[in-house]
Symmetry: C2
Subunit: 244 residues, 2 copies
DNA sequence: CGTACTATTGATAGATATCAACGCTGGTGG
DNA sequence: CCACCAGCGTTGATATCTATCAATAGTACG
């Protein structure tokens, strides 16, 4: 079972035939180094990209040359399902760490969307992406620096758990502090101090790109984190995603 | 031709039959006063809501009781197309001004999505909503208060023009400064001063809820506004939406 | 006429950005 | 093998932006 299948099964039940079709999505795979562009603003790619391994992001660069990161793409996430409708990308996608990214042809995507269950799953995934965006807006708009960071780390833990990429309450975080700052609308210096604050409160540790959540309840409380916007199954499959 | 049809025609060409079907969406209409809740967080409404007249918004209320407004819903916008997939709303929708809101049954929505052209149009609309969300994230994350406000006003001018609700370069803005502040992640006091800054620069006037853009180029420059994310037709139908 | 909401102003406090510098690391070329 | 360099994390000092508090005036409304 590939990572996309695993992710969709958080929401829908897939038949054997559905799974077989989904297996085909990971046929054509491309390797990327860290910091490489996958799709540029203005592009109109002819196939859809799916992250299989590593971290990528959506970002825009503004006039002043500053980067705003608007989404993290982790294994199981689509980069550009929009391309079927919109004429061109309004933002850029690049890798943050070394990545394996699948390239899915238009015809295969059409086959996928013809299966009602898979189509529902894909639609669910895009709606969750949108819900994440809304939550990030709240995060940046109304929380201070330490709270923002706490919230983001809670979200990453749950999203990565949903695709089996956590080890207990820790995970690989191959993202630099500058990139986290560009995500949270902070300066790199201030992000660094916020990270230290989380460590000082014994909520996390971070060594060699490995983040350990020492006190998930504390981290959730600090970041006012409520997992409902991730719309994960609340059937006990996840120990972490409970409302609280 | 109703407002939804008009909006979709910014992106797709609709046949007579398509338009006839779209006409049915505005059959059941409900009137709301200002500040009324349309759908609450946790609800799972059984029909889809479409704004016909007035301004509404999506928002969340955080622990501290502060409100974050994550989207404005103007005539032609859907409130809750998600409801077909997700179990429940993760945010609340309320009116900002008096509104007329259509209630569209599930069965009619299904009929709409069976028409390929209409389905493409609806999908386009949801992707644009998502693109707006990404741009708001950049706006709040990386621009200062005056720039944020300038950017937001530019966006509203274009979105309202797309549904024929502008008069030249002015439009009705039935939103209080407190609400604008909750949208842009600012305090009401600071928003007030930012608004005054825009007036002092002779970029806008605002009297009796009527906003006049005196210098659109100046406003765009100040807010680093690039309309590409709205994915409007660039065929000359809009004078205002040109890249610049 | 009072009440609530909205816009406005001034003063002060607090949060975050900016600037500058340093150590550490890994890579790279001589 | 070593010197050099770039990227990253870190620290301190200062400047800037924005929030908060408090007060006032206008307006709509019952």
């Amino acid at each position: 079972m590939n990572i996309l299948t695993r992710k969709l099964m958080n929401f829908v039940s897939l038949s054997e035939a559905d799974r077989a079709l989904l297996d085909q999505t990971t046929r054509a795979v491309r390797e990327y180094g860290p910091g490489q562009q996958v799709i540029a603003e203005g592009d109109a790619p002819d196939h859809v990209h799916l992250v299989l391994d590593g971290f990528a992001c959506r970002y825009k660069v503004s006039d002043g040359g500053e980067r705003s990161i608007m989404a993290y793409l982790v294994p199981g996430d689509f980069c550009d399902l929009h391309v079927f409708i919109l004429k061109e990308m309004d933002h850029t996608i690049a890798t943050l760490s070394p990545c394996r990214i699948a390239e899915i042809s238009r015809s295969l995507v059409l086959q996928l969307t013809e299966r009602p269950t898979i189509a529902r799953g894909l639609w669910w995934a895009t709606l969750v992406d949108e819900a994440v965006l809304r939550e990030w807006l709240v995060n940046i708009g109304r929380r201070d620096a330490v709270e923002r960071l706490a919230h983001l780390l809670c979200e990453l833990l749950l999203r990565l758990e949903a695709v089996g990429m956590t080890f207990g309450e820790s995970f690989e975080l191959p993202i630099t502090q500058v990139e986290l700052a560009d995500t949270l609308g902070l300066s790199a210096v201030h992000l660094n101090r916020s990270m230290q604050a989380l460590r000082a409160k014994n909520l996390i540790t971070l060594n060699n790109k490995k983040l350990v959540v020492l006190d998930f309840d504390g981290l959730k409380a600090l970041g006012s984190f409520n997992p409902n916007y991730l719309h994960l199954a609340e059937d006990g499959r996840s120990r972490l995603a409970q409302a609280s």
